[in-house]
């Protein structure tokens, strides 16, 4: 009997230990399973920003349909244009993104005078219902299509904050002298040279110059080449311009990706070598209703002198030939290669090394990094 009780007790203890071990294994497995499936992107490329109501979702969808719409000649496309749809150029990785094929980049030439006073060259023409190509200007510069993800959030960064962080005379002697692009129509915020002050202005310009469609803002259809007399009805109504602007405004920022375990630490190197002086990891936002959040676009939205290394073209808006707005780096790996404003950099490393002017010190510091640290920094840049 005594032996039986002893055996039963032992068996119970054994069973209890086995069960406890089983529970522990299950819990560890569960935790590790959760770790391997941590969300890397609550919202993905092409989604609208989170927490908007059904009306805003419907507006987003309507704008999206206009954004992907292919316009034809009977709707007013031309007589000169670069593309038949917004999505023709903004499509990688999904509608709203950028473009990777260099020969599709938009060309600008001083020999061209477009209908809004700029120098955008329009590659295609419509003559007698047939599409042809215009002869290329003898000299031109190329501009890579910029991604539109998160633009609406950049619009909500308060001007007061940007005024506070600008330092045009480099009073703090850090070698960085970012300035706000003040132009006659306002303060520039969008485009490689900060030439657009608002998303609506950007959309109006794109409809007019890239698609050759008149809007209520720009009523003249290719006015310089084909003058049109009288107050013609716009081919794209104000309502449609607003719908596309709303779509862009509601596009979510790019998702962040998980950094490989062996390459963690790039964020500190990014800071240490001075990249974060201009490519600011955090910016505040304020919306009309007063709510605010911190965003991570890696820009300061200011103009900086990039030196002779990147100088080219001509003066645009408030920007000199060598000045550029700090390009937002969020979603960087999905916007290239190629990289930089004209696609001259074949990879991210080359883009860093081509930085001059105010960024020359950071570029030099990058060159001197140990390979392991370079790898960490590049992985960080691929994941932000």
């Amino acid at each position: 009997m005594c032996g039986f009780h002893e055996n039963t007790g032992l068996a119970r203890r054994y069973l209890r230990n086995v069960c406890s071990l089983f529970c522990a294994v299950i819990i560890v497995l569960s935790v590790s399973a959760q770790n391997t499936t941590q969300p890397e992107a609550e919202i993905y490329f092409g989604d609208h920003i989170a927490r908007i109501d059904a009306t805003a979702v419907a507006q987003f969808d309507r704008g999206y349909q206009l954004f992907i719409k292919v316009w034809n000649e009977s709707e007013g496309l031309g007589p000169n244009f670069n593309a038949k749809s917004c999505a023709n150029c903004h499509h990688i990785p999904v509608p709203g993104g950028s473009e990777l094929a260099p020969h599709t980049f938009v060309m600008h030439s001083l020999s061209v005078r477009d209908e809004i006073g700029g120098h955008t060259f329009q590659r295609f023409n419509v003559k007698e219902n047939a599409v042809g190509e215009n002869p290329l200007p003898t000299t031109y510069i190329s501009r890579k299509t910029q991604s539109l993800f998160g633009l609406g959030l950049l619009e909500t960064v308060p001007l007061d904050y940007l005024t506070k962080i600008e330092d045009p005379k480099d009073r703090n002697h850090d070698g960085i002298s970012g300035r706000l692009p003040r132009i006659s129509k306002g303060v520039g915020r969008f485009g490689w040279k900060s030439q657009s002050i608002s998303i609506e202005e950007f959309v109006n310009t794109a409809f007019t110059l890239e698609l050759g469609l008149t809007t209520s803002t720009y009523r003249m259809s290719n006015a310089m080449l084909h003058p049109v007399k009288g107050n013609i009805k716009p081919e794209v109504s104000y309502d449609k311009v607003l719908a596309v602007s709303t779509f862009i405004r509601l596009l979510a920022p790019p998702p962040r990706r998980t950094i490989s375990q062996r390459l963690i630490g790039g964020d500190k190197i990014f800071d240490d070598i001075g990249c974060s002086s201009c490519h600011k990891p955090e910016l505040p936002t304020i919306t009309k209703v007063g709510s605010n959040r911190i965003i991570h676009p890696f820009t300061d939205l200011l103009l900086h002198d990039m030196g002779p290394e990147l100088r080219g073209g001509f003066r645009e808006g408030a920007a000199s030939r060598s000045e550029f707005r700090t390009a937002p780096l969020w979603g960087l790996s999905s916007t290239g290669p190629p990289f930089l404003h004209d696609g001259r950099a074949k990879n991210i490393e080359s883009a860093i090394l081509l930085h001059g002017g105010e960024a020359a010190r950071s570029s030099r510091a990058f060159r001197l990094l140990a390979q392991d640290d370079k790898d960490k920094l590049l992985e960080f840049l691929r994941c932000i």
Binding site: I68, V70, S85, N88, H91, P95, S333, S334
Partner: protein, 345 residues
């Protein structure tokens, strides 16, 4: 006290097993033979410039290979000896020696090649070159481009008619489908089709091409005799990848925005099943993530479908018989293209 603690722990353990059956080693769900037994797939990791070789049954990434910039699509030759990967931020195709698991060479194409289709004998291929509005026909043994044919704006998808005389190309930038006579090296027709057409497939033995229309949330059926759109099948939101089983009976579409996989009956051109990725038993569901299905591939019989999830950087296996996701494997960043390796005989 000890007895109570033991009981509580036992109850917790049982609850864990019941709610997370996939965590038990060897559990594959559904019962019966897994359609993924011994299955190997190649996956292009668009944001990593790599290709992963994945063992679906073992749920393991076996190796990765560095390829060109922004690898998009992948196809494997009938012997499973070489794979061909389009590098969409370049103008070439990487040739992968599958045995050696390395890139053996690159074949030049037009600009920014997207989908690639191999002939049934594996001797030639066609790429859709989104950057310059052309297709390239490639001589596989000679590893060179034979010729280009001009098609529409931003071509993405490519498929062949069953006799391989015609190439069908989706022109994403202008909502058309180009029909190219490969012998004449000439586009013979351009058909208006849906909005943002991405992928085109011709199921084996069927007399139609199916096109995924990302902007119209539907699959369009094109009659290959008349070269006209015959019907439209609504699926989930933003179908991107589209695949057909080797036997031509099943098709699958990855509905990118609504996070679903549509399984289609190719013979009747109807939707057989729609699997919501957030509510299935896959790990995506357990973590509460919004999956972003980009591409799909089917096995020969149409019993197993694999899809890539861009948001979670995984590929998952869907058992068509049970409608359950049985395996999910972590791969590189932004998995785009998927191809099954032929099974060893």
């Amino acid at each position: 006290m000890k007895k109570r603690r033991f009981r509580v722990l036992a109850v917790i353990a049982v609850l864990f097993v019941l709610t997370n059956p996939q965590m038990l080693i060897g559990f594959k769900g559904g019962g019966g033979a897994s359609p993924f037994a011994g299955a190997l797939v190649l996956v292009t990791n668009w944001a990593d410039d790599t290709v992963s070789l994945v063992d679906l049954e073992q749920e393991k990434e076996l190796s990765t290979i560095k390829v060109g910039a922004k690898p998009y699509d992948v196809k494997v030759d009938p012997d499973g000896r070489f794979a061909y990967v389009t590098n969409s931020a370049a103008s070439d195709v990487s040739v992968i020696d599958i045995q050696a698991m390395l890139e053996s060479t690159k074949i030049p194409t037009g600009l920014s090649p997207r989908d690639i289709q191999l002939s049934k004998d594996g001797k030639w291929a066609v790429t859709a070159n989104s950057g310059d509005g052309t297709i390239s026909k490639i001589d596989i043994p000679a590893r060179k481009e034979l010729f280009k044919v001009k098609v529409g704006s931003i071509p993405y998808g490519v498929a062949f008619s069953n006799d391989e005389k015609l190439a069908l190309i989706t022109n994403w930038g202008e909502n058309t489908l180009s029909v190219v006579d490969l012998a004449a090296q000439k586009e013979i027709k351009r058909i208006t089709i849906g909005s943002l057409p991405y992928t085109v497939v011709v199921p084996e033995g069927q007399k139609f091409a199916a096109v995924s229309s990302f902007g119209s949330h539907s699959i369009l059926k094109v009659n290959l005799d008349t070269l006209e759109v015959a019907s439209t099948l609504p699926v989930g939101r933003s179908p991107w990848g589209l695949a057909s089983s080797g036997n031509g009976k099943i098709m699958a579409a990855a509905n990118f925005s609504s996070n679903e996989i549509s399984v289609l009956d190719a013979v009747n051109f109807s939707e057989k099943m729609r699997v919501k990725l957030n509510t299935t038993s896959g790990p995506s569901a357990s973590a509460g993530l919004a999956a972003k299905a980009k591409n799909v591939a089917s096995n020969m019989e149409g019993t197993g479908i694999v899809f890539s999830d861009l948001a979670n950087n995984t590929i998952s296996a869907l058992d068509v018989t049970t409608g359950k996701i049985t395996n999910t494997i972590k791969v590189g960043k932004a998995p785009y293209g998927i191809a099954f390796l032929p099974r060893k005989k």
